[in-house]
Subunit: 468 residues, 2 copies
């Protein structure tokens, strides 16, 4: 008789796992069932700001594979079905139909919520994702205050914007989601204010690099308020129950629409309740094969797990679609009996706000200090093309290296065209634990339209090499 | 008394060496003299096609540092002075002023050629560069037949083009210089024919990838003729002694101007005559510190040396400005008593023809077979951005990996925006001798404007991993 694989959560990690397991196992050998409490499967959450901003015309463009497509490939995908408990001893999950379905997102969900029942599994994949941080403060649960984590969130925000009265947007949080949302609002012609209680926006960068982002955003007409005074206290609502302003520690910022970009935390309560190991950042702990530690035949992946940090050691929570896809692939291979592994991350992230590209990999100064490593930092200005080639745009590269050994510890880049993906070479060098001397001598692509004769990353590495 | 460093050749390698040596040594400790037989120092030869094409307005934009600037920094740079012999026993070079100087390139050289004399050295740097391959065939030395190796070459070509009668250009050779020159001619409104006796243009790629370049060039209106029938036999001249056509094995291609893009060979006769070791590709042989093998206090770098191939082992001739600059930096550090090293190359090269970006790193199939390695190859189609993001352009990635070990052996990319510098991550992975499994799991930058959720390089690596 076929064994049964149950997948909890049908987005990047879960469905990558299911699809890869399906490729490697016959239907007579493995039955694959996936439960998804939402209305959509396998969509690009990262694309939502671009849908809101109008660069992506249509929600369905963000859906990589529909439930029907998954089913056609032999995965029994049950949409609008929430898993409410996992019993590892009985090897079963408790599920509850939540009703509704795609297309119903604008109104009440017609499908009645059903009875709970238990579904058995032989093998289990937990891919429950992450949930946005939403302050438990007055007014933050009002209509017109939007998260931007799901397609439903995106649709709700678009409905608010289509009301036509939304002229002023306040984005709470100046991280990736925050700045991408700020761009979307600018594109829609709103005046935009970004609030971040950190020293500078983009706290995934060192503050001096974050300042470059702030200055560029201000140059685009975006208001940016940071520091303790920018910490939010409440959303002040009008008589219609919709936002009028965001109240911070030291000001009140008029707002017709509020978008939350405060980041996400692992959605791991189900796993925790089942007795799975949870790390200090709230994510499920796995080994490199994405097997939940200490359990047989149970995997976890995507935004609900913690990942190994190859640079600092230890575990972090890094919710990114690219990791979720890779982890899903590794899980599916493991289900299929192969020995794939997800080795960990070096902390690479790229983003943009309008024409400004922002990238980081490795450790920030704060993280290096926390790791107790002696280090030097250098900052250089360079260009993305040979200085004489048309369209050579400036970029700033900051690099950290370990004193003594010269080991590369981190790179941040802020600039225009061609700045973001510049960190990839550094990300690979971090993975290989290269020194800045080695980075300076790497054989990177050079031609005048693509790079100065020393790539900006190598300009920084040369300078760092003289300082370590 | 100060020791004397003599540098032969004042372009990228020579002057990088001189400048770095100057930084590390006091003037009372080291006298630095450089001899340059041409009229320009420290210029970007790689930029010449863009000057000819009009993207770079002015020759002087290509000059990174003038002779005066070098002199102001304490380097005694003697322009228009050819080194005609090196005596390693007496530790002296024979020099001969050749007359002329910047600005005189359009007319006869006014400075009289001087008497030869000997100049002593304690330490020597040989940076004599490369010379373009020019067929010893009828008509190839006529006016209107141009190399494109030096600023003087560029100026001469521009004079031909400014005669106004140049309507048809034939470019002989479909490598980097050839295609960049073809773009320049297209930009100037000429009809352009490219001839290459290889199977496809861009023989630094595998033929199937070269075919993509051919098709794109043809789509731009460039005529491309390849194969044995396209081997040149002569330039047919008119009564004015200028080109009328390029005669090949099986056709005659009308031409008002002919540009040579047949590549370069090391200019190493001086070194050979002095008894320095020369490799099988005609370049000077050095160690990783760029010291000429078997000699004390003698370095060589830039287009006149062979470089170690980190992927295949053995030595190659890879004339690129980026290597020359790095080698010069290493030499200067060595002169200054530091232990810098140039570890070798992995064979990275990027180029473009109009909007088409072309990149390679590592080994081609031909080179893998020559090295006797068992291998698999995969080709994938991907895009430079998330598929749903505006401006997502297609790119083709070809990847080679060693059967059994899975070691990455080479990557080629042909595509539009963002294709070329994609090879950098692969170049670092080659340097670190990573497997395709490792490449597939690298933490590369992902966001919809910059990459699909699996970077195109990783799409290829995934596919290769299933095949090795």
């Amino acid at each position: 008789m076929a064994r049964r694989l149950v997948v909890v959560g049908a987005d990047a990690a879960g469905m990558s796992a299911a699809a890869q397991a399906r490729r490697l196992t016959g239907r007579e050998e493995m039955e694959i069932t996936a439960f998804e409490r939402g209305h959509f499967s396998s969509y690009s959450a990262c694309g939502i700001p671009y849908w809101v901003g109008g660069q992506v015309a249509d929600r369905d463009r963000l859906i990589a594979r529909t439930p029907e497509e998954h089913r056609a490939r032999g995965i029994d995908l049950r949409m609008s079905t929430e898993v409410t408990a996992i019993d590892l001893d009985r090897r079963a999950v408790r599920v509850r139909p939540v009703g509704g379905g795609p297309g119903e997102i604008d109104g009440p969900l017609p499908g009645a919520a059903g009875e709970e029942r238990w579904e058995p599994f032989d093998l289990l994949v937990v891919a429950t994702g992450a949930e946005p941080v939403r302050p438990a403060l007055p007014g933050f649960d009002a209509p017109g205050v939007h998260g931007l984590q799901t397609l439903d969130d995106g649709a709700a925000l678009l409905r608010t914007l289509d009301r036509g009265s939304a002229l002023r947007a306040v984005v709470v949080g100046g991280g990736y989601i925050g700045i991408e949302t700020a761009e979307a609002m600018v594109r829609r012609g709103l005046s935009v204010t970004v609030l971040d209680r950190g020293e500078e926006p983009m706290s995934t960068l060192d503050p001096d690099m974050g300042r470059l982002v702030r200055e560029a955003m201000q140059g685009m007409g975006i208001e940016v308020h940071t520091g303790p005074g920018a910490e939010v206290r409440a959303v002040r609502l009008g008589e219609d129950g919709r936002p009028r302003a965001v109240v911070t520690a030291d000001a009140e910022h008029p707002a017709d629409v509020v978008v939350l970009g405060l980041g996400v935390r692992p959605r791991a309560e189900l796993a925790r309740a089942a007795g799975m190991p949870i790390g200090e950042h709230g994510g499920i702990l796995t080994d490199a094969r994405m097997r939940v530690r200490g359990l047989e035949g149970v995997w976890a992946g995507g935004d609900c797990v913690e990942v190994y940090d190859l640079v600092a050691g230890g575990y972090r929570h890094v919710p990114l679609g690219t990791h979720a896809n890779k982890q899903g692939q590794v899980i599916g291979s493991g289900v299929g009996g192969q020995r794939a592994a997800f080795p960990g991350v070096v902390g690479t992230a790229v983003s943009k706000v309008c024409e400004l590209e922002i990238a980081r990999t490795g450790l920030r100064e704060k993280e290096i200090r926390a790791a107790g490593l002696p280090y030097v930092s250098v900052v250089v200005e360079s260009t993305g093309r040979a200085g004489y080639y048309p369209g050579a745009e400036p970029m700033t590269v900051k690099m950290h290296a370990e004193t003594g050994t010269g080991r590369l510890l981190g790179v941040q880049v802020v600039g225009r065209e061609g700045a973001a993906k510049r960190v990839d070479a550094a990300a690979v060098a971090l993975t290989a634990r290269m020194t800045v001397d080695q980075v300076a001598m790497l054989d990177l692509g050079y031609a005048p339209p693509f790079s100065p004769v020393w790539d900006p990353i190598q300009v920084a590495a040369r300078k760092a090499a003289t300082a370590v």
